[in-house]
Amino acid sequence: MRGIDFILKRTAFALITVFVAVTFNFVLFRALPGDAITNLSKVPGASPALRAELTKEFGLDKSKWEQYLVYLRQLATGNLGVSFSNQEPVTSVLFHAIGNTIPMVLMGTLFSIIFGTITGVLAAWKRRTVRGYGSVWLALGFYSLPTHFLGLMLLLLTAGYLPRGGRVDEFLFNPGLVAHWVDVGKHMLLPSLTLGLVLYGQYTLVVRSAMLETLGEDFVLTARAKGLPDRTIVLRHAFRNAMLPVITLIALSMGYIVAGSILIEKVFSWPGVGRLVSQSVDRRDWPVLQGTFLILTISVVFFNYVADLLYYEFDPRITT
């Protein structure tokens, strides 16, 4: 059967990728020469006894293979280790951060999908007109700006009107529920807008080329020969077909969203996953960095997997 086969194949690929990522994560952090955990026992003036103690405590006296098995077993129970900087379990630190990141990223992504699609279709439809060129150049402009630079520019432009960073105003005394969420919304506006604008440029270009490609297909010629108005051809015939590759590309840009949110959250001190990455880099907090990297990889793999399935669902031509 067409469906089962495809889903099995994709699921197997996703699972293997996650497994490779998990293993890679182990090798990266522990098996390299001069690795991070060994550095921990290099406290200045550490006695050999302390070193042995530390090595034993972190299980570094075991063979790499045994360490790997321990790592896998702990991972299976959701144990990602303990943060070096505040002794909290990495899992709870991560959950907290993810909860903050998702609304911010979601708002920015929605913004860019809606506006990117509109201008992308316009740019392809009105190609070789002022509007067409305008949309392309605007998109290219936003696409070229480094994410954190765009964020910093927005900060400079809105100085005095919008909060500069963080998620809530620390000095609001006992705000009501509405006041609290208005406050959060105000803080979220700039980070979301930055992500939205950067992605907007990318999506416009992607939608535009998908549309151009579809407009070159034979069925568009047929529709035109039938005497359908341009409007119907573009919106009813071409647009629906052009959306197929766009779904995949939006899912594939998850990696880009992740990268963007690391920079954006640093600019705006938004307490999410991205800030966790930059903080744990600054503090050399390896367990947190390792856990975050794992979660980011798994989520990117997951979204690619979902995109594959969606694509398959929407496009009956795919058989493998």
Partner: protein, 316 residues
Amino acid sequence: MSATLENEPGVETGSSAQRLRTAVWGILKDRPSAIAGAVMLAGFVLVAVFAPVLAPHGIHEIVGPPFSTPGAYPPLGLDDGGGDILSLLMWGARISLTVGFAASMVAILVGGTIGVAAGFFGGATDTILMRITDYFLAIPDVPLMIVVAAIWGPSLLHIVLVIGLLLWTSTARIVRAQVKSVRERVYVKRARALGAGNARIIFRHVLPQVAPLLVANTVLTIAVAIFDETALAFLGLSDPSKISWGKMIKNATESAAISAGAWWTIVPPGICVALVILACTLMGQALEDALNPRLRVAHLAARGFRLLPRTLRDDA
């Protein structure tokens, strides 16, 4: 013997470097945006090369009071340490462009080798190499760069290697597809029948055909590499002793330039990065479109049908 081969229709004569130059130039000259990109990029490279002559001040020279505003004398103002922004931009161009070019060279070398090997040998080699490529494509590259750069420690060489070793995947896929089609062409089969070995076929017959596409890919990769350098610098993972555009942005944010309203410490390096990315994108996409065999007829073209190349990539 080789003369008859080279005179086969469709195979141009002349040295391969010459052929590549004509091919690349032929594509660029009909596209104004590509020319604009090429001119911008060339301008930045020239400024970087001649920075010691052009820059009015040295990197560590203190020119005046911190955060002096732009005006007649320091044309772009001074940074938090009283350094001249214009001079720093010129010196920074050297590091930023070096990282961009070197990292994309690494990426092209790795991606090209894997792509050629997978496409040319096919079979199990192809399957294994493409699987590896798929896994690398699935792993988010910027976080991986951050992790590796953090573990290796900050240095220019590490940054180049980290960026280069993670950017090769798209090159490998594009090159593989192209090599696969070149491999099946008659003149390659004829060369093989005449006793040419794999090495000769790859270097004499396959690579020259793939080279223009590699150039297009290199140019696009430079843009990504420079963006990645800026990002890594912003996270404090670049070489602390080297000034790049990314480092300038980072320094400005750390020295409270935002709250001081000193926009001139951030805007110039940011604009420079954006212009280089724009230049590379314009140039690389024009090249890639022209080389992409799938030329399309746009049926909505208002007057009559004309051949329109897809002007922007669809396979990001």
